[in-house]
Amino acid sequence: MEQLRCENLTLGYENGAILKNLSFSVKEGDYLAIVGENGSGKSTLMKTVLGLMKPLAGKIERGEGLNRWDIGYLPQQTIVQRDFPASVWEVVLSGTLSGEKFHPFYTRSDRKTASENIEKMGLEALKNRSYRELSGGQQQRVLLARALCATRKIILLDEPVTGLDPKVTLEMYELIQSLNKEGVTIIMISHDVTAAVRYANKILHIGGHVFFGSVKEYLASAEGKLFTAKEARK
């Protein structure tokens, strides 16, 4: 089932378009990697998919039964969060808030959802710890647990392994893969093409020439060949 379809999107700000005529779609259970150089418009595309920005032209259609807030999101860390006094529990629980309906306080089912996702991400021992004291990898898992509280349908990850050491990077990728195998659709923004090719089933390459298709097609395409040539030289 198609969850997200973007047609002829033109993205950018008032003073100019960054991306033109972008079309792609995401099916349930897909693992889409969005790759491209810095400045190619990856973040702008992500903000548009999340509904934080409106496209200049074109349209985004969501599949049936999929609300705007059914897209969970793992953002890049902001400076504010680095000294923010918040427990892991508070951060994860805040993921259950949504625009759907207004409850001033958390309900019992909100707490249950938060507990389950803390367990799923292996964070029980850190539940009462302060978010700012955790390592980079632990913080990413906390934010992933929060995103899972918001939705079980699509998760959008923005450069999820930036600043992590190689071992933690591998663990993070495997965690994301295991979520995908449980049926969560993954959209990952990355400039790590190696990982994108290994874990994703679809690739969207933006900047310069736009490519959208399966990993196999990507490796056979001009952009993909450029990448494999670079890999061979290493």
Partner: protein
């Protein structure tokens, strides 16, 4: 010392002292609640900026000859708060720069007006009073106390009802927005409430010292506590405690109210900072 306590006992029987204590505690509570959010949003200086705006507006009201200056001061301060806290992604000027700009301009403009169109014979005493809140907290009327009580109840209720959303918006605005939370609305609520609290607080500590009420309790609490809830509760307790202590001390020893409270808060901050260092509460 016993004399001082005897004197305190006598003073506490006066209605104006009771009023000062009630209003002082309420303002301390309200300003500390939002302090945590403002400090974390990197708006520590908004208290200073907005209180200068309120000072400028008060001068305008005095020159125009309005009997109730709140009709000018409140709307002007609220508008400025909304404009300053509106965190556009493509803001041409950073938050701290615009706060500094408005703050300095409003202060200069207000003082200029008061000098050009003096409403009393002693302009510098007037200015000093508004900025440092010399005695105005001791000259409150019963009506002003009721207004403060009402606004404080509204502030605390708004904060409690929207607490979870305020947390979400402060911690990660983009995530909150992506999950459908109306972040603009909550930023607006925060701005309006802080403007109301600042106009109220000018009566207590005067405009220059409002920053202290907003940032000291929050920063002290953040040295030691680690969750948002515990920091919020601790800063409320600290703020109310130091306000009470400062008010009583200023009555006992005849010191100016605002500076006494701020010195008490600075001392507490030092203690919490040391506790935090020893306890390892804050990892650098």
């Amino acid at each position: 010392m016993t004399d001082a306590f005897l004197k305190l006992g006598q003073y506490l029987a006066f209605p104006f002292v009771q009023y000062a204590l009630i209003v002082g505690v309420l303002i301390a509570l309200c300003s500390s609640l939002l302090g945590v959010t403002l400090v974390l949003k990197r708006f520590s200086f908004i208290g200073d900026g907005l209180s200068h705006v309120a000072f400028g507006a008060m001068s305008v009201a005095a020159v125009v000859g309005l009997t109730n200056e709140m009709f000018i001061v409140m709307p002007v301060t609220i508008v400025c708060a909304v404009l300053l806290l509106r965190t556009g992604q493509h803001a041409k000027m950073k938050g701290d720069a615009s706060v500094a700009l408005i703050s300095v301009f409003a202060l200069a403009f207000g003082y200029l007006l008061m000098n050009l169109f003096p409403t009393s014979s002693n302009v510098s005493a007037d200015v000093c009073g508004t900025l440092f809140g010399s005695t105005s907290v001791l000259t409150l009327t019963a009506a002003e106390v009721w207004v403060s009580v009402g606004l404080s109840v509204v502030t605390v209720t708004v904060f409690a009802v929207f607490y979870n959303r305020i947390f979400a918006v402060t911690f990660d605005e983009n995530f909150a927005k992506a999950t459908g939370i109306r972040t603009e609305l909550y930023n607006l609520i925060i701005a309006v409430v802080i403007a109301v609290v600042i106009v109220l607080a000018m009566n207590l500590v005067g405009s220059l010292l409002i920053s202290a009420l907003i940032i000291f309790p929050a920063l002290s609490a953040m040295r030691v506590f680690k969750s948002f809830l515990s920091v919020t509760i601790c800063s409320a307790i600290l703020s109310v405690g130091t306000a009470l202590l400062g008010l009583l001390a200023s009555i006992m020893f005849g010191t100016p109210v605002g500076p006494t409270i701020v010195v008490a808060q600075a001392a507490l901050f030092l203690i919490f900072w040391i506790v935090g260092l020893v306890h390892g509460g804050v990892k650098q």
